[in-house]
């Protein structure tokens, strides 16, 4: 059995950066569809904000989607995965679990557990032992650099991103917890 698993895994890896998906998504802004995952490629169509799409594949900063009318590559940040619509203003995310890469059975397994909450955090007592443990796991800058070099990571010059223009276009008022109202 193990013998079969190894070549299968190797095959998956060799399929390279493109991973196949079949997930629901919603278009977050009007954007173009390209025939290849590149803004230099031919335009294959367009997608309208709010439209539902099927996410077919992913590669770097691009998703291959099908709108029903057409299909092509769209920028990763122009689409959200999941069935919750545009987000804060969207409808329920009821089938969301089935649309992620993460194992849906895991969601079921922990659904009954209570997560961290405000009370846990407010009641928390300072724990010096855990803090000492944290310190003990710390690494130096030199160690981090050597760790990076082991995998060929090198510092790259990337300019900072400016905040999106503070244009006066009216945005809908946000509730304190928009996700809750999904």
């Amino acid at each position: 059995m193990k013998r079969f698993l190894i070549p299968a895994a190797a095959l998956l890896l060799s399929a390279a950066a493109t991973s196949a998906l079949a997930a629901a998504g919603t278009v977050l802004r009007d954007d173009k569809l390209y025939s290849q995952p590149s803004a230099a490629a031919a335009v294959a169509g367009s997608a309208t904000k709010g439209a539902s799409v099927n996410i077919l594949a992913k590669q770097g900063g691009w998703l291959r989607v099908s709108t029903g009318k057409s299909s092509g590559w769209i920028r990763l940040l122009s689409v959200r995965a999941g069935a919750g619509g545009l987000g804060g203003a969207g409808l329920g995310d009821v089938v969301g679990a089935a649309t992620t890469k993460s194992d849906p059975t895991r969601v079921v397994a922990v659904a009954g557990l209570r997560g961290l909450n405000n009370e846990d955090l407010k009641q928390a007592q300072f724990n010096a032992d855990e803090l000492a443990r944290l310190d003990a796991w710390g690494v130096t800058a030199a160690q981090a650099k050597s760790f990076a070099a082991q995998s060929g990571l090198a510092a790259v010059s990337v300019p900072a991103l400016a905040a999106p223009g503070s244009s006066p276009k009216s945005k809908p008022a946000q509730e304190p917890s928009p996700w809750e109202s999904n």
Binding site: G61, R80, L121, A155, Q174
Partner: protein, 307 residues
């Protein structure tokens, strides 16, 4: 703006009792005006008068407040030492609610990735500490002075080192942009906080703890959504500067967007962060095509997987 006025009221109230006998009223008033004039609108002179009452002001009778410290705490910057004192207290409290995962290899790995990403921030004099918290809750936290935590639940969602770098980059950005300190500065107790945090006395740790709120309350309160959007932009760039693909953080946000809304593991995250779809959309507005040419590594092979 309102918060600022409350702070001014507090400052003045503290001043009137603790500093009587000195001519500090004038000094603070000047400092307050100087600060307020930085804003677009010049306020009417009368609003800075020491006579301004403030219902929000706590009784400062028992606190000795040094006026320089107070003014500094309200308007100035903390030293890296002060930041670390504050952050250490918050981190220690958080660890009182959730312990660290007992996995040396995991914790060491996260510290190596985290420190490498943090090096790209250019911040000096920060001792960075990264930890994975032993809870299935999906979240990540930062505290001033270089403390960064990611929960085991969030870690399990990650698929490669670039995604980890993106998540850590977001938290590192909260530290470098001093988002939590800004929240603390808006609290009415900040003046005294600045004073005790600068004190060398060990006993003041207790006072720092009292002043930052109960336990790790600040983590439950969260930051405003603009701070979260900024941390997304800055964190994504830190990860890219570290040689990772910039798309790690967006990939994690996509996975979060795909989780069911009622997943109990994300209840605190949903209370303290904008919806992942809003974060993706806002990040998309800032990024556009600017990162198209940036290549980077995913490092799925090296990614440490929790047993």
């Amino acid at each position: 703006m309102k918060l600022k006025w409350i702070a001014v009221g507090v400052a003045l109230a503290a001043l009137s009792s603790a500093a009587s006998g000195f001519d500090l009223g004038k000094l603070l008033e000047e400092r307050v005006n100087q600060e307020l004039n930085k804003n677009k609108k010049t306020p009417p002179a009368s609003t800075a008068s020491p006579a301004t009452p403030s219902a929000a002001a706590p009784s400062p009778a028992k606190q000795k407040v040094d006026i320089n410290q107070l003014g500094f705490a309200l308007f100035g910057d903390y030293s890296p030492e002060q930041e670390n004192r504050i952050g250490k207290q918050i981190a220690g409290n958080l660890l009182g609610a959730v312990p660290l995962v007992r996995d040396d290899a995991l914790q060491r790995y996260v510290n190596q990735v985290g420190n490498w990403v943090a090096l790209q921030s250019g911040s000096k004099g920060v001792t960075w500490r990264f930890g994975v918290l032993d809870t299935e809750d999906i979240n990540a936290f930062a505290a001033p002075g270089g403390y960064v935590f990611v929960t085991k639940g969030l870690y399990r969602l990650l698929n490669n080192e670039a995604e980890l770098a993106g998540v850590l980059g977001h938290e590192i950005a909260h530290v470098t942009q001093k988002h939590h300190l800004k929240v603390l500065k808006q609290s009415s107790l900040i003046g005294a906080l600045g004073q005790v945090a600068s004190s060398k006395a060990k006993s003041s740790d207790q006072v720092v703890q009292n002043l930052i709120g109960n336990g790790a309350e600040i983590m439950a309160r969260g930051l405003d959504k603009d701070a979260e959007f900024e941390a997304d932009r800055v964190g994504m760039v830190y990860a890219a500067r570290a040689g990772y693909t910039p798309w790690g953080l967006p990939d994690v946000l996509q996975d979060l967007a795909g989780l069911p809304a009622k997943d109990s593991r994300t209840s605190l995250l949903t209370q303290t962060h904008p919806h992942p779809a809003d974060r993706l959309a806002t990040l998309g507005e800032a990024v556009g095509g600017q990162l198209d040419a940036v290549q980077g590594k995913e490092l799925a092979d090296r990614f440490y997987r929790i047993k």
